[in-house]
Symmetry: C3
Subunit: 102 residues, 3 copies
Amino acid sequence: MKTVLAKVTIVSERLLKDELIALVKEAGATGFTLAAVEGEGSRGVRAGDWEGRNIMLETLVSPETADAILATLNERYLENFAVVAWVTEVSVVRGEKFLGQA
Amino acid sequence: MKTVLAKVTIVSERLLKDELIALVKEAGATGFTLAAVEGEGSRGVRAGDWEGRNIMLETLVSPETADAILATLNERYLENFAVVAWVTEVSVVRGEKFLGQA
Amino acid sequence: MKTVLAKVTIVSERLLKDELIALVKEAGATGFTLAAVEGEGSRGVRAGDWEGRNIMLETLVSPETADAILATLNERYLENFAVVAWVTEVSVVRGEKFLGQA
């Protein structure tokens, strides 16, 4: 019933929202979740007064698709933008459907 | 000081909120966290204009309770609702208390 | 490209926000993410009407820094406050920068 997948989490400024959604979809993600968050980091992501200035985007994908997403993020964003990304191993119910476009 | 537990994450339409809270409590969860999220998926969960139309419910439980929650979700929701669920292994401080009703 | 790090997640009443931010920074965290959440737990964290009464604070740190954060939380908060904390192992892109002040 469970499939081991990679959950990719990306935290960034909100202005990158549409670009990042396009990026994960092009890499093969079949869906995603977005939350409004605040934050503070070494590259200037600031903690505001709870306006949800940043986004946290999460998507469940195959380990290969996760690597592809991270490589593209690394190439395009991590040097010059306040973007942080990580991967968590998770067990997903009926996870096969997330592999469809991998 | 740390106990390895299962964190169950459920993303769904908000209208299922009360049902899902009841489901995890009946399975033995002693607490939960809820966040308002947006999303898009293969079953029609749509990304809106940040109204937080969906929920992300998280609960820390024993691996056995996690399996019971996933089985019930699979049986009742995953076929016909825009529900996604996964389990992450986590190390919890003073985690014993989360096993109380397992 | 990826570094295995510890993601520490702390859920608490909002009134502890500044104290908890100070705590993780003093332990060596170089950044953090905050989200407004609701919740219910054994120590009285209540599920409200979506006012985001609680916070979820997350920070990516070395395993050693994670242990230091958890020990301090355990000492100062876990007995008497509605605070829950856990650690998840994650793979972070360009994760070295999170180890800077560890």
